[in-house]
């Protein structure tokens, strides 16, 4: 059997030529590439043999998959899913048991060095990885084996990218992000809890059509989706600049849609595309629904204290405090110390003056 192109796969899935072209221009737009790129995407998909994707699940909650199958443009979902489900995703595919596990072996042999490994969740390393079992064996072993012959790895979500809640202190299972286990492959982090569906399909489509990984920032995230903060494109930003804040849930400011900064919004420190792409087909995103951003695509967001505090916790040396409490405390101590020192200084000066001229001054 010769290897099919993407286009052939799509046509076999019953997708019309017209819909295919639509998908190409939409993808070009969502990748920020401009209309001229649509024919290039189409050409690539028509001529390139498709790259198989293996989608593994480690320690996770499957919210990435849930997000993924809700991709706004149904066609994007159909196309990418049809590409994926042909291969391996234990949550989405029809096959099960030994038959399913055989698929991994099959792809590894047939497409050695040529397939993409998408990882949702992460491997726990404690107790030899026994906290996450995949087909009777520790997930970390499957991950290492499958990664060995992969061309590149996509780390889906905060789990694979940073560790997420299962890695929260004290991290009893030693849940470890993928890039700390697999160090010899290019890794694309697509963080978020979950990541935005369009971002996920966008990344996959980019990699499949252009046969290279998108441009990444220093933390390994695709620049096209993680180059700006929520705050930079937030529609409540005028209220922020004007100093109009929600002070309490359900106050007048909340009703008027003021900025959620004082309610702990992490939009100013979170790099993601929510305020641009939004969620569920562009319907809304947390801030639009009246709740601040919790910063779910940022490293360590789960261990930084309250989602409703703007100045977050510092957990060092067992002290749990925030910068204001700690700094203010130190300043108060310094102030008190200065006052006490000044008092003692005055006393000792008075005494030494007395010593010098005992008859008084």
């Amino acid at each position: 059997m010769s290897i099919e192109t993407f286009y052939e796969v799509m046509r076999r899935q019953g997708i019309s030529r017209r819909s295919f072209m639509k998908f190409c221009s939409l993808t070009a737009a969502s990748l920020g590439l401009g209309p001229a790129f649509a024919p290039r995407i189409a050409h690539a998909m028509e001529t390139k043999p498709r790259t198989p994707v293996i989608w593994l699940h480690g320690l996770e909650c499957t919210c990435c998959s849930e997000s993924f199958i809700r991709s706004a443009h149904p066609l994007a979902k159909d196309v990418v899913l049809s590409m994926l489900s042909l291969d391996y995703d234990d949550t989405l595919m029809a096959a099960a048991g030994f038959q399913a596990e055989a698929i991994i072996e099959d792809i590894k042999k047939k497409y050695k060095g040529n397939y993409i490994l998408a990882v949702e969740g992460n491997p726990p390393l404690n107790e030899d990885g026994m906290f996450c079992i995949h087909g009777g064996r520790p997930f970390v072993e499957i991950l290492r084996e499958t990664a060995a012959d992969a061309k590149a790895i996509i780390s889906w979500g905060a789990c694979a990218s940073w560790g997420c809640v299962q890695a929260a202190k004290p991290n009893p299972t030693r849940a470890t992000p993928v890039h700390k286990v697999i160090t010899d492959k290019p890794i694309i982090k697509v963080p978020g809890c979950p990541p935005i569906a369009e971002v996920m399909t966008g990344v996959v489509t980019y990699m499949l059509t252009f046969d290279r990984i998108p441009e990444l920032d220093r933390q390994g995230r695709p620049k096209m989706f993680y180059g700006q903060r929520i705050h930079d494109k937030c529609y409540r930003r005028p209220h922020f600049d004007g100093g109009q804040f929600v002070e309490h849930w359900d106050d007048e400011g909340a009703r008027r849609g003021y900025c959620l900064y004082k309610m702990g919004c992490k939009g100013p420190t979170t790099y993601n595309a929510c305020s641009t792409t939004r969620w569920n087909g562009g319907v809304s995103f947390p801030i639009q629904s009246g709740h601040g951003c919790i910063g779910c695509s940022e490293e360590g967001f789960w261990d930084k204290g309250g989602f409703y505090n703007r100045v977050t916790d510092i957990k060092a040396f067992g002290v749990e405090s925030n910068a204001d409490r700690l700094g203010g405390g130190v300043a108060a101590v310094a102030g008190a110390a200065v006052a006490a020192h000044a008092a003692v200084s005055a006393l000792s000066r008075a005494r030494s003056n007395n010593d010098k001229n005992p008859g008084g001054n």
């Binding site: 180059g227 930079d232 600049d241 940022e298 360590g300 910068a323 700094g327 130190v330 102030g335």
Partner: protein
Amino acid sequence: MAVQVEVSGAAQTAAGRTVFVYEAPVRLWHWINALAISVLAVTGYLIASPLPSQPGEASDNFLMGYIRFAHFAAAYVFAIGFVARAYWALVGNHHARELFVPRLADREWWAGMRQELLWYAFIARQPRKYQGHNPLANLMMFLMVTLGSVFMIVTGFALYGEGGQAGHWANVLFTTWVLPLFGQSQDVHTWHHLGAWMMVVFVIVHVYAAIREDIMSRQTMIGAIINGERTFRS
């Protein structure tokens, strides 16, 4: 230029003598810096914990915008002032260099440090006299003013570059590497905030020590940073 060790007993610090210590650029920098730090501390606090919500149309208000503008403007003054001051350390007199190169390898300097600590612990009855900073003051200055300023400038511009976004000079020079170094943006915010409190603590101690030494060390401190001359008393 050789760095001299000035300890008590030297003719220069004899009672009644006046020496010229702080050149005009150093004094000017000191006061501009003091002003910039005050503005930065207040506006910085208000950025993290904003004032009560403003009424009316968003388009009629720009309070946070102005507060942030004041913070950024003062930050530029602070940073440019620091660079200018570092330049003056190269071309100015040897007192101007103390802040940047504490004499850590000098035994005499450490002996002076010990003496100062004893003086502050009320054990020593007399402090030594110095033309410039005493070793303890010098070390504090180096740690909190010199290194502290560098820390605040680097983390501050990294945060500033976030708003500037990719391609902005501060983003290219600072944000791209400072964010991953600290973990993420929120961590940089937290550290910058702690740095600000450190500056506040420094100011408290600095002002106290200057006033105290002026009274108790028989040499002018406050006058010195105003007119540049230090007079020694008996």
